[in-house]
Symmetry: C2
Subunit: 171 residues, 2 copies
DNA sequence: TTGGAAAGTCAACAAGGCTGACATAAACTG
DNA sequence: CAGTTTATGTCAGCCTTGTTGACTTTCCAA
């Protein structure tokens, strides 16, 4: 059967112990428990408000890409337009998000955070970054690089494209 | 203010660039997109059945620790007993989980997977491990070590205890 | 023997997914 | 120009999975 790909696995015979079912189970549980921590802080802020995790996600990605369209958001978030619309409607009604009709294509709505929306985004991401920063600092840059490498490899190809497009590509 | 801890951050002045807000935002999005991939495969299997992610989680942890009590599960899963009970009830009714009254403490219920439950667990974790294995293999052992280090650092202390207790401790 | 922990149950509710059907405006195509 | 496709919004209804609150039963342990 020989060695297979060789490109990524320059270790081959050496130590594939990190691929045992037990190690994979550990990885699975690590994801589960870490994701709980990952969402805990913003959730705590939101539980006193009329918003939830879905609103957080929308606000995050609007902040990341101001002027993004509804369709873009749908692709990134992976929910139905009905689900997203329910969230966006409340955010627009409450004045956290502004929805501008497109200039080139008037069917499109371009989404922007208002001042108030930006403030909430900041509060939420501050909380989340705080934990991430502590984890990154404790783990060190090499561990962080590995963390990102594995997570990227775990994404669906379509989502990986979305993820990499942020810094990799456009202005 | 000098160098701080030194233990983990032997890099100090050198390159703290991995702690910029932009890098942290990347880490946050990596978690978001990767978690989507992480849950996608089991979800796909479950959508044809009468079960959801909550059932998967229960089945996973019962399989990991056969004979665990309801209270143990509650601590690990971090949901209310009413939520968990609804899930467990259907699993018991459908013959995937067996609930045995404790011998020492008859108030406790010890949970075990039946043959059928084990089969479903295997199908679900096979799917999940398949993706994790591909990601681990593509990333390599050093990246995997970093991945785990960062995730551990991101957990709430209580959950980290739970996580580490698996291989670290009891028989 | 009694207090309290563990477990279970009922009811009601909310968030946030989903599908299906339909409306409107704008853009595109032949 | 007519017809089709696209982008968006909306109504209605359903499901899963989380929540709180109230209450009961069992039974260990002081």
């Amino acid at each position: 059967m020989s060695e297979r790909g060789a490109a990524n696995t320059a270790f081959s015979g050496e130590s594939l112990l990190f691929l045992t079912d037990e190690q994979l189970r550990r990885g699975i549980e690590a994801m589960f428990f870490a994701y709980r921590g990952f969402t805990a802080d913003p959730d705590k802020i939101l539980q006193n408000q009329a918003y939830g995790r879905a609103h957080h996600r929308a606000i995050h990605f609007i902040n990341r890409s101001p002027g993004t369209t509804v369709n873009n958001l749908l692709a990134i978030l992976g929910v139905t337009k009905q689900s997203l619309n329910r969230v966006l409607r409340t955010l627009v009604e409450d004045g956290l998000v502004e929805s501008r009709v497109g200039t080139r294509d008037k069917r499109e709505r371009h989404l922007y955070l208002t001042e108030e929306g930006t403030a909430l985004e900041r509060a939420l991401s501050d909380a989340q970054r705080h934990r991430m920063r502590a984890a990154f600092r404790a783990a060190g840059p090499e561990a962080v690089a590995g963390f990102r490498t594995v997570l990227e490899a775990m994404m669906d190809p379509e989502l990986r494209r979305q993820y990499l497009a942020t810094t990799g590509g456009e202005p």
